[in-house]
Amino acid sequence: MTSDDEATWVRRLKQGDEAAFERLIDTYYGAMLRLARSLCPDPATAEDVVQETWFAILSAIARFEGRSTLKTWIFAILTNQARKRAAKDRRFAAWLLGDTTEDEAIAGPDCATAQAAMSPWPLDAEAKVHRDQVLTIVQEAIENLPSNQRTVVILRDIEGLEPAEVCELLKITDGNQRVLLHRGRVSIRNTADQALNPNPEMSR
């Protein structure tokens, strides 16, 4: 979508155009739920947060000035709603409330892991079905990440947000954002490698 398209869309939303609002629901509901599920301790709470976000959107759309994209603006409202909720609910992860004590050095792969990488993944030669299976593995690996890594991976690699936008949304430093993204990607890579090269010693 070009920024002109988005400006027109926002103008229609402000004018009360129902089709424009339906389009907003169709475009962002799923992505909002995915982000909320990543932030919240259970699916029911995630649905609540999404619903609260929609009401906040309805209240605020008239004042949206287009300084960010619509998507980033919606995600910012959603993360605010999740933080509000987290302040009252101990089941939420501590990082949502600004506890970033996890700021240790990057836990990179040691040489043994790099050795396992000897066997290239049989991705290119395979049919589409195989790629879909790998995608399922990747999706599960994402779901199993700690919530802070998962949220950064979703925002950066699935939603395509810029590093600075992610830092702003999650109230984390750039260094922290990089570490979380790196750890998340490494962990997904390791899971995929185990599935694709279950026995690297043999295949070498």
């Binding site: 009401f55 605020a60 990747v138």
Partner: protein
């Protein structure tokens, strides 16, 4: 020469194009020499691509009752524009969303 650990620790920044020039050349030289790290970096590149592919997969759509409720609320607010002040709290949150940028 850079060690395998040093090279692979920086793979995320490397793929993001966020490694400064000097270090970038160091990584590049290491990858020239080291087939294992080259393979590792390729796998990480594939991982990023695969994760990106998830964005093309169909997502949950709004359940019909949620959709109807949202549309009804949209219509209600359109017909009652003076409604704004009643929802100041939500509005403040949303304003934060933009002001903080």
């Amino acid at each position: 020469m850079m060690t395998c650990k040093e090279a692979t620790d920086q793979v995320t920044d490397y793929l993001d194009g966020r490694v400064p020039h000097g270090k970038r050349i160091g990584i590049w030289l290491h990858l020239m020499m080291c087939v294992r790290c080259r393979s590792y970096v390729n796998q990480m590149r594939q991982v990023v691509e695969l994760i990106g592919d998830l964005s093309k997969q169909p997502l949950t759509t709004a359940p019909p009752d949620v959709r109807d409720a949202l549309m009804a609320e949209f219509r209600r607010r359109k017909n009652a524009p003076a409604d704004g002040p009643g929802h100041v709290e939500d509005g403040e949150d949303a304003e934060d969303a933009e002001d903080e940028r």
